[in-house]
């Protein structure tokens, strides 16, 4: 099979990249392992924050529909239930595994990796018991598959993901017994925190989970206060009767494909860990392989879309579908938009991280 631009991942980054490139006439093929396109978007039933220009006020799921519609109009080819299991020849070929368990080689001229991020695990005695699950997985179960994983939930982690999923659990009819965080302050935005507080969910900072217990499934958990050294303060243990523990302790870029393709990576804590290095055009250390979205720094759907667009424009230009001047102009617009997104008070970390990343790219 042949294409001009292959995109791995149909989240906001991949879809936005596809649209931008297909608009100029590039033949685009998207591959995603899920039965539905959209990446994280379709489980995000809440309204996004930020400026209107960046789709604030719109729910993730609606953004997803909008992007898909555009892809359809532009004849973007989307392979679903298809895994990319390897990248060959410096990004010029992919190994695909289709839903029917056959493999196929996809030859391509350019490649965009928009594989997103993966939830971080947290190890404690009992962490492998059924009933301990990721907050993102919980969101998928509830909002996509309409399954409530349990009735009494302990949320571990109070970043935005932990706070939003706590709220959605309440909406879905579960009881969130507590949301805890080892840090002395809440990680996520104040608006989200006060929303769930108003609904009666206690938020316990400087707290950690000591263990989960139960024979074949979670029956309860022991939580405790921690001191400044993050160690448990003796005799502050408390037992909670619960059946579900949601782990929301951050995400890490899913950079394995990029790494195995040979793209150089760098560890940047602000971006969630090991990330492929890239320049302002989103091109990695291997010419013709681009990255966009959470795979090169865990941020948000809005930034993922902007990065996706930039990578799409860059790929279209290098394929000869966009004139240099035009591409420059388009990219400048997108870059300004991205800067605006990262100018917010909550984005200082990722802005810092991205600056480091791009600086390192130019050094090597």
């Amino acid at each position: 099979m042949e294409t001009e631009l292959a995109i791995v991942g149909s989240g906001p980054a991949g879809l936005a990249a596809a649209i931008e490139a297909a608009k100029t006439g590039v033949k685009v093929t998207i591959i995603d392992e899920n039965p539905r396109p959209g990446g994280q978007l379709f489980k995000q039933i809440h309204k996004f924050f930020g400026s209107e220009k960046h789709k604030a006020g719109i729910r993730g799921i609606d953004i997803g529909h909008e992007l898909l519609e555009q892809c359809e109009k532009l004849n973007v080819q989307i392979f679903l239930r298809t895994e990319v299991w390897a990248v060959f020849d410096n990004g010029k070929a992919l190994g695909l595994k289709h839903a029917n368990n056959t493999t196929e080689k996809l030859n391509t001229r350019k490649l965009i990796l928009a594989t997103g991020a993966i939830e971080n695990p947290l190890a404690f005695p009992g962490w492998t018991l059924p009933g301990v699950l990721g907050a993102g997985a919980t969101q998928t179960l509830m909002n996509l598959h309409r399954v409530l994983p349990g009735q009494r939930v302990l949320m571990v982690g109070t970043g935005n993901v932990g706070l939003i999923v706590s709220y959605q659990l309440l909406q879905a009819g579960a009881d969130v017994v507590a949301a805890i965080d080892i840090l002395p302050q809440i990680g996520g935005w104040g608006v989200h925190a006060s929303k769930i507080r108003r609904l009666g969910i206690p938020i316990l900072t400087s707290h950690t989970i000591k263990e989960a217990f139960g024979n074949n499934e979670v029956k309860g958990a022991v939580i405790a206060r921690v001191g400044q050294d993050n160690k448990v303060i003796p005799e502050t243990e408390r037992t909670l009767e619960i059946d579900t523990i949601c782990i929301a302790v951050g995400l890490s870029p899913m950079a394995e494909l990029a790494q195995s393709a040979g793209c150089q990576t760098i560890h940047i804590a602000e971006l969630g860990g090991w990330t492929p290095m890239h320049n302002k055009r989103m091109e990695t250390t291997i010419k013709g392989i681009y990255v966009a979205g959470d795979v090169c720094g865990v941020e948000e759907a809005s930034t993922a879309m902007e990065e996706g667009k930039i990578s799409g424009i860059a790929a279209a230009e290098s394929l000869g579908y966009l004139q240099r001047g035009k591409a420059k102009e388009l990219m400048k617009e997108r870059q300004e938009s991205l800067n605006a997104l990262r100018a917010g008070p909550f984005a200082t970390q990722s802005k810092l991280g991205k600056e480091k990343l791009i600086e390192r790219f130019h050094k090597c």
Binding site: E83, F88, D89, G95, K105
Partner: protein, 406 residues
């Protein structure tokens, strides 16, 4: 960095690290130089089979046997980390009548060399390995064969060497070697010069580039092998399984040679510059290996290519390996591949490594090993005896570089 040393070892693979450890018993003045990190090439990329069944009589078998003796002692007395050593026997499985006939011949001849091979029928194979395919006709089995984790093993030797006083410098590349009157004087690296009168070339498939630095042609070529590892699966396989390199249209003579990768040593004397044979289709250059790791991820290989030091993996190779592996262990059908890689078997024309002194004074070679996880400890022991006591290497003439020129 040290400015002089009794011995400078080039290469931090299994050969360099075992040599460093054995030498450290006699002298504290050993330096090991490694361009990347310990075990970052072939010694970190292989299947860790410590097999006797595939060895050729003479030098090859002697080294393999001695290492099998040495490992348990090293594990008990020297290493401070686990190397996942397991003596579970090794199995070469076959699917066709032709292979069975070849297996009978090979088994008989190896038994006469004192290698305890057994020919197993299908029921016996499945008794040992219930998950293997029903299509398997039988297997050659050797209960002496063991396996280990190659990366952990190489690192364990490096740690032991360091404890013994060896200075190990990683990220240090040898750029040239200074000689005077046909004798080694010093080694020049990207981090400076080290004076020494003895250099051990343990650069694996890069040994010929090191040879060029002293004007010596060393006929070692990079033989590229591709591999992948699967996700963790339930425990279904107990030991490493190997296939044969026999094709449907092989003659019986070819089949016997192709069995277990045995090469005909009695063939015409090998020569310097004798190039690796030309290949033909990749599909005709595959050989099955499936290795269960201690965590039950399954390592699968391989295909053979001569393409220089090109480390890319290819769709064609990985799908061939997957098809072979699935044919042998059907439960691999729905299992994910999590990583793939390529590395280089340091290849010589007769399958015997090049070990020993050379016409350049103080320039010693220990390279070209197809099975250095197996040969390593014994080779290092012999090298230390050679360097420190001037004792000749057992069956040394078979491994000497002079076999290509005399």
């Amino acid at each position: 960095m040290k400015r002089c040393a009794d011995v400078v070892i080039i290469g931090g693979g299994i050969i360099g690290c075992t040599a460093a450890y054995f030498l450290s018993k006699y002298t504290r003045d050993v330096v090991l130089l490694e361009r990347k990190g310990i075990a970052s090439e072939a010694s970190g990329a292989n299947y860790g089979m410590i097999w006797e069944q595939t060895r050729q009589p003479g030098y090859d078998l002697t080294m393999a046997r001695r290492s099998l003796e040495l490992y348990p002692t090293l594990i008990n007395e020297v290493f401070d980390t686990d190397i996942e050593y397991e003596k579970k026997g090794g199995m070469t499985v076959f699917f066709t009548e032709l292979e069975r006939t070849a297996a009978e011949i090979v088994t008989r001849s190896k038994q006469s060399q004192g290698i305890p091979l057994q020919l197993l029928g299908a029921p016996e194979v499945r008794e040992l390995e219930p998950a293997l395919s029903e299509e398997i006709m039988g297997a050659v089995y050797c209960h002496e064969d063991a396996q280990l984790n190659p990366m952990l093993t190489t690192i364990a030797f490096a740690r032991a060497a360091r404890k013994g006083g060896v200075a190990i410098y990683t990220d240090t590349e040898v750029l040239s070697i200074r000689t005077h009157n046909q004798s080694v004087q010093s080694v020049i690296t990207n981090r400076g010069e080290i004076k020494t009168s003895i250099v051990l070339n343990a650069a694996g498939s890069w040994a010929s580039q090191i040879g060029d630095m002293v004007g010596l042609k060393i006929p070692v070529y990079p033989h590229k092998l591709q591999s992948f590892v699967t996700e963790q699966i339930p425990h279904v396989l107990n030991r490493v399984i190997q296939g044969t390199q026999i094709h449907r249209d092989s003659s019986l003579e070819e089949a016997v040679q192709g069995f277990s990768y045995t090469r005909n040593v009695s063939a015409e004397r090998p020569r310097i510059g004798q190039q690796p044979f030309h290949q033909g289709a990749l599909a005709d250059n595959t050989m099955l290996y499936i290795k269960p790791t201690v965590s039950d991820n399954i390592v699968c290989g391989t295909t053979f290519e001569f393409v220089g030091h090109d480390k890319n993996t290819s769709y064609e190779s990985l799908t061939l390996i997957a098809a072979n592996a699935k044919k042998t262990l059907p439960q691999l059908k729905d299992v994910h591949i999590i990583r793939s890689w390529a590395n280089f078997d340091p290849w010589t024309v007769d399958g015997i490594p090049i070990v020993g002194e050379t016409e350049i004074g103080g320039f010693i070679i220990a390279a070209g090993h197809g099975t250095a996880m197996s040969h390593g400890p014994a080779t290092a022991e012999a090298l230390a005896e050679l360097i420190v006591h001037g004792k000749p290497i057992p069956f040394g003439e078979q491994a000497s570089i002079t076999r290509f020129t005399d």
